[in-house]
Amino acid sequence: MTSDSRIWRQLKKNRAGLAGLLIVAVFFLLAAGVWTGILGQDWSDAGGGRWEPPGKEFWFGTNLLGQDIFQRSIYSVRTAFEVGMVVSIFSTVLGAVLGSLAGWYSDSWIDHAILWLKGVLDSIPFYLFVAAVAYALQGQDWAMHIAMIATFWTTTGRLVRAEVMKIKSREFVLSARAIGLPDLLILSRHVLPNTLHILLIQTTIAFVAAIKTEVILSFLGLGVHDGVSWGLMLAESTQEVLAGHFSNFLAASLMLFALLMGFNLFSDALQDAYDPKQAAI
């Protein structure tokens, strides 16, 4: 077992990982600023001229409608965090629950059913599945989130299942069973906590995947309905870059890249810390 303090020590040594965490923290503050109404509230106002260059009034310039690209890219931080958090948390929880059930009752009908479900979801091409869910839930604000959650949990589920099967045969679990503790209690008290590192890492990975998927879905017209996101800005930019207007593209892609980079560095450091066998340090 890896102790928390050792993990923390490992993490602190990893400068790239810390930098990643810092980046994520900064973005989170921006998102919090939007949530609390301090930042990015004028993202929808069309007060400027069309395609104004960056300047004093509009730091990143304006888009076709004369909307402030700076405001929009800041407001998009909130959208990114909303999508990322909702999808990563729910998909990880779902994966943890289904994975641990499958692992605990391995080779029973529960396991088979869950494996079957996972197999089915993995066999449908991802964007097709997401598009299909988006149609089935036509117009629902959460269509995109549900589609991602429904597919993202499978990896977490697989990892948790394997880990639970390992832990199941450990002594402390065997003894807990021997004294007749109920299954669910053992699972939630003794088994799941030991898979936390997997869940933590998977959450960061799902976060990154969710934000990336949002971009593609919004480009395809299946993503964010109301509001603004980097995906919508990039979709706008596809109509602009070839005419020489790069503000939307640069603002959205650089901020997107920075946030993803931050998350990836942090996620990397986490993985290294938990799995020093793989670490490059």
Partner: protein, 617 residues
């Protein structure tokens, strides 16, 4: 054991990979430079016109030629009885497969038309021995019947529905092609007779549509569903290849020989003299061996392809107007482009307008007379708040034609004096309308604006929301209702579920009847009256005018109808977009995207010796 150096076995692997990449990259670039000249040298001196479209037809069956893209192809692969003169503006009818304009009986009910002699379908395995047979009047009868046969999934029946004696009954009796339709008869192989239920002066116009193109029954039976991608017609071109990205048409060598006549096509030396069209005189279309059509939905991609010289024609995307035009009004091509291209700026033959769903009691008709009045005030306030100047500026580069009402400038009945208003908005008036009728931020209804989720439509929504914000409409009360496909959007608005929707209507023929019918009560959804507008006076005027020949009297009625809709505040209307068309100077042509449309393909010609000589003069 051999002791390899540390990087020994790995490095060659990487090296070879890098080499592979490099060689691929270099191979990719070399032909990129050579390819053009090589293919030009090797190719036979076939003449090619490379056209571009901003959308693709899904079917080439004339019965499904509902989009402008499908219509362009249908009228080239097939023959219609009539077309519009190539060069005459305003547009004028011209016989195509028909030998002369129809002979109409005194009561306007019986149309008699003759086909030109010696017209043949192209050779195709569908015919006995693969030889295309002569086109007969019976083929036209069959083609119109097909529109009414549910198995065809045809989209053009509405043009003739309830108009031709016995045709609707023919459908009700099971669409049996053996059964005769009394009002649609082939008197002999080359004579047609149509008998109308009531006068329909627009009939001849409908016979220019791709929908009315003549198809041979053998091919429909032979290819079944695949007929849609296997056209067999008698048009100036035949299909070589077709997919969602491109279509290639080649000259139909058996197309009837009809020498081109400048005067018959309505040539105007003053406005068209620089296009090199004089050299067409006496030549028989089609004048190009090959037409390659690229379907490119993405504006920027289409533009870049054009600028790279891969296309001869483009409808310039609005995002490029900046770089294309020297002056906005009148639109004038910048000097660099003018060296290689011709420009024409036409108003579209239609208009864009945003309808209120009058069937929705939140904003339209309401059983309670008081609320009904308040809804009327609300709609009028929204119309007043709509900033047409800005809409035009942002989305149409400020050169769209903003007008008031439902008769667009492309219609001959358009009232230039009255309805080309500079459209100043009056925010004060709008706010007063709201407050006078008891509307405030708390009790204003939530507005749901429907659109298919594309970038431009979303931007239009956001702009509308900002307009409404300026009269105190809270941002959270103006909501998007997005649909991922046009089909789902259409389902919603045709089922009257969308409160506010923007409709781009393209006129089928140059007659305002085609746009006033958009507000005729009985045409309500799922008909094309998407506003579900219903005004008894308007309806009565519509019925009154429907059989009338174009005349001052009819125009007066149309204008009265127009005013009724304006007074009722049923629609935010409208703008006619200005289309900027560019084409290669090496061609003698006058492209059109309006009523002539696809008919111009056959007249496109390489600007041969005479053109060059003129330039040298």
């Amino acid at each position: 054991m051999t002791c390899w150096g540390k990087l020994g076995p790995v490095t060659p692997l990487i090296k070879s990979l890098l080499l592979l990449c490099l060689s691929i990259a270099s191979m990719a670039m070399l032909p990129g430079c050579n390819n053009r000249s090589e293919s030009e040298e090797a190719a036979p001196p076939a003449t090619v016109y490379r056209h571009s479209m901003d959308g693709a037809p899904s079917s080439l069956d004339p019965a499904q030629a509902s989009s402008i893209y499908a219509n362009f192809l249908a009228v080239n692969l097939y023959d219609t009885l009539y077309r519009y003169k190539y060069l005459a503006r305003p547009y004028e009818l011209e016989p195509n497969l028909a030998d002369g304009l129809p002979e109409v009986s005194a009561d306007g009910l019986i149309y008699t038309m003759h086909l030109k002699p010696g017209v043949h379908f192209i050779d195709d395995p569908a015919f006995p021995e693969g030889r295309g047979r002569a086109v007969r009047a019976e083929d036209f009868v069959y083609s119109i019947k097909r529109q009414f046969d549910p198995a065809t999934r045809a989209q053009g029946a509405w043009l003739w529905q309830g108009r031709i004696v016995g045709l609707d009954e023919w459908k009700e009796n099971g669409s049996d092609y053996q059964q005769e339709v009394p009002g649609l008869k082939a008197l002999d192989d080359r004579t047609l007779q149509i008998q109308l239920v009531s006068p329909f002066p627009q009939l001849t116009h409908t016979l220019t549509q791709g929908f009315s193109a003549v198809v041979p029954r053998e091919a429909v039976d032979h290819y079944g569903q695949e007929f849609a991608i296997h056209p067999v017609g008698s048009g100036p071109y035949r299909l070589q290849t077709f997919n969602s990205a491109s279509a290639v048409l080649v000259r139909n060598s058996r197309f009837r020989q009809e020498p081109f006549s400048l005067s018959a096509e309505g040539f105007d030396a003053v406005s068209q003299g620089h296009l090199g069209l004089e050299q067409l005189e006496g030549k028989a279309p089609p004048l190009m061996d090959r037409i390659e059509i690229e379907f490119v939905a993405e504006d920027a991609a289409r533009w870049n392809s054009f600028i790279a010289g891969e296309l001869d024609f483009i409808k310039v995307p609005v995002s490029q107007f900046d770089q294309v035009l020297e002056n906005r009004d009148p639109p004038d091509l910048n000097a660099t482009l003018a060296e290689n291209y011709h420009l024409i700026a036409n108003l579209e033959s239609g208009f864009v307008h945003t309808d209120f769903n009058m069937d929705d009691p939140r904003i339209g008709y309401h059983p309670d007379p008081d609320r009904n009045t308040r809804n009327h005030a609300l709609r009028c306030a929204i119309i007043e708040a709509f900033d047409w100047r800005k809409r035009n500026e942002i989305f149409y580069y400020g050169i769209g034609y903003v007008f008031d009402g439902i008769i667009p400038p492309a219609a001959p009945e358009f009232d230039l004096q009255k309805h080309h208003v500079p459209v100043a908005r009056d925010l004060e008036k709008a706010r007063n309308l709201l407050s006078d009728h008891g509307w405030n931020a708390e009790n204003l209804p939530v507005i749901e604006y429907g659109f298919t989720s594309s970038v431009t439509e979303r931007q239009m929504f956001e702009q509308l929301r900002s307009f409404l914000g300026e009269i105190g409409y809270p941002q959270e009360k103006v909501k998007p209702l997005t649909f991922a496909t046009y089909g789902d959007y259409a389902r919603a608005y045709l089922n009257r579920e969308v409160m506010l929707m923007t409709i781009g209507w393209t006129m089928d023929y140059p007659d305002a009847e085609n746009t006033v019918q958009l507000f005729y009560g009985p045409n309500a959804s799922p008909g094309s009256n998407t506003a579900n507008y219903n005004n008894s006076r308007f309806n009565q005027l519509y019925r009154e005018s429907s059989g009338m020949q174009p005349s001052a009297g009819r125009t007066a009625i149309y204008r009265e109808m127009n005013q009724i809709v304006i007074d009722d505040c049923a629609t935010i209307s409208g703008v006619s977009r200005r289309l900027i068309l560019l084409w290669n100077r090496d061609l003698a042509a006058l492209p059109d995207r309006s009523f002539v449309g696809g008919f111009f393909f056959r007249f496109v010609a390489p600007r041969g010796q005479s053109g060059a000589a003129q330039a040298a003069e």
